[in-house]
Amino acid sequence: MTPLLLNLRIAMSALRDAWRRNLLALAGLAVGIAAVVAMLGLTLIVRQEALRQFDRSGLDVLALRKTSTPSPATVRRPPQIDAAALRHLAAAVPALDLIAPLQERRGTLGFNGRTAQATVLGVTESFAELNALEAAEGRLLTDLDHAEPYVVIGRELAGNLRGGGGAPLVGRQLQVEGRVLTIVGVLAPARAIRLHTGDLNQAALVPAETFGRIVDGAEISVIYARHRYGPSPADVVAEAVAALQSQVEGLALQATSAAEWVAEMQRQLRLFTLLLGATGSIALVLGGTGIMNGLMLAVTERRNEIGLRRALGALRGDIQSQFLCEALILCGIGGAVGAPLGALVTRVIAWRAAWDYTLPLAVPLGGVALAVLVGVAAGFLPAFQAARLKPVVAMRAA
């Protein structure tokens, strides 16, 4: 047996004897480690999830949203984005390679004698391209449809119209705001670009000109656009806003680019990380303090043992390593419990939020390593105190 093995032997036995006291400290530490692992895991997952959402449409997308800012008194009629303004936008900002104006209104649909409310979108072909839409049945709208009385419906809306049946919808008539349109297609499950706030699966899409005919006061409420790589998104946004405002007097726009959105999201993630980090740190400090307190108490209770071992030849370092050893074992157990617990919490949250669960092994392993660090920190003071005890206590205590 070596002094280290002797320490390990005594450590295991001492920890077993004081398991009730250690259990509380262990629980605190395990919760702290779990919080840190969950924090790191969720941060990674959320970041991946956000980037995955932008993967489809890319970071080169921007949105120019018309705001409800009151028009200045000098403006005689409410500003409206028209076809001329869109043409000017395309010409003035050559960095834009795709422009998808969107008209949007909550409307009444009628089908088979039943009515329902749904979002009706007036779109161009570019909208489908920008959102990578695909048709599950029939076809998508094209610019050749102009003002044709056609409609393409989202997958969930189609399911509602079918009412549980499997009857084909393409070719059937759908009343939109009292006008009869022909269903030419049903969308495959769709996920709009992140900048679009509505659910395309529950929407009815009609050609832009058709939308103008069937909806009173129809207007372009938002323009989605994609720009070429190269120019900075902020510059492109500024140019686009300027181009539109030069054509439409009194037009107020709120511009958002995907890149800015991602930057903002990352700022929020940093805040989130900071918050979780603070929570985890507090739990770790509490757990570590609990372990330190337990060991300080053990040093007091085991003065005789310390003194006897010093009398028999244990160096200060041997005594120091005894208590460090106990702190490390405790924290190692805390880490071994807390890290999988944190991974489990991450998994549950990811499952509830429908995020892909991908937790690199380095995260729980990092949690265990952190627990070991806490062990060193928590064990240092008791170990130092134990090593400083004078061996004369052995004779006095004996």
């Binding site: 002094p3 002797l6 005594i10 071992r309 028999l312």
Partner: protein, 233 residues
């Protein structure tokens, strides 16, 4: 021949608040190898303090202490620990043990700290336990042993490293007469056969009568004509 213990005008004071207590005052003592010295004295006379100093568990405030010819005043804490481990065997009054280790492991502890291999330490521990008649309970934990058995295990532990100096602090005070006689006999035998110096604090006339010298401590001062020389047997 080099004396095992050489104390020259050693003093030790304790400060308790504003009060200074002279626990030992100018104690001089020389103990030769193989010599058995019994120390008696009333409570608080400084017996334990003297044993602590001789056992390198404490340091003197004044005077010189040479253990086996080496002045310990200049030694570092770790050096004192190593000397204690290699040269001194302790038998304490209450026979303190490491409760989580077996009797054999308790006996082997000094050898573990000396760096002796596991197999050799076990063999030597077994040998000493056999000498004190406790090989049969070598795997028992201290809680499973009687007071007399514990004291004999403590004796085996004190002897396992072949020390130059055995310090025994009232080793038989908690034992019945028969067990006390056995323990004392074992101590004296180790002293005589191994040539180790034995210093025993005792209030038992039966034990002190067997000593080469009987010294008395009173108020921190050593009394006795033979304090610095070996008495005739």
């Amino acid at each position: 021949m080099t004396a095992v213990v050489e104390l020259e005008s050693v003093s030790r004071r304790y400060r308790i608040g504003p009060v200074t207590l002279d626990a030992l005052q100018e104690v001089s003592l020389r103990i030769e190898p193989g010599e058995f010295v019994a120390i008696t004295g009333p409570s608080g006379s400084g017996k334990s303090t003297l044993l602590h100093l001789m056992g390198l568990l404490d340091r003197a405030d004044e005077g010189c202490y040479r253990l086996d010819g080496r002045d310990v005043a200049a030694c570092s804490d770790d050096e004192l620990t190593l000397m204690r481990n290699r040269k001194i065997g302790f038998v304490f009054q209450a026979a303190p043990m490491l409760p989580r280790l077996t009797a054999r492991e308790n006996v082997a502890v000094p050898l573990v700290y000396r760096g002796v291999s596991s197999s050799e330490a076990t063999a030597r521990a077994n040998h000493r336990l056999d000498q004190v008649g406790l090989l049969a309970v070598a795997d028992h934990h201290p809680a499973e042993l009687s007071g007399g058995q514990l004291q004999r295990v403590a004796l085996a532990r004190a002897l396992v490293g072949n020390p130059r100096l055995i310090l025994a602090d009232e080793p038989t005070s908690a034992l019945d007469a028969a067990t006390a006689a056995t323990v004392t006999a074992l101590l004296i035998d180790a002293c005589r056969t191994a040539g180790a110096a034995l210093v025993m604090i005792s209030h038992s006339a039966v034990e002190t009568e067997q000593a080469d010298r009987r010294l008395m401590l009173t108020a921190g001062r050593l009394q006795g004509a033979n304090a610095t020389g070996k008495a005739a047997a």
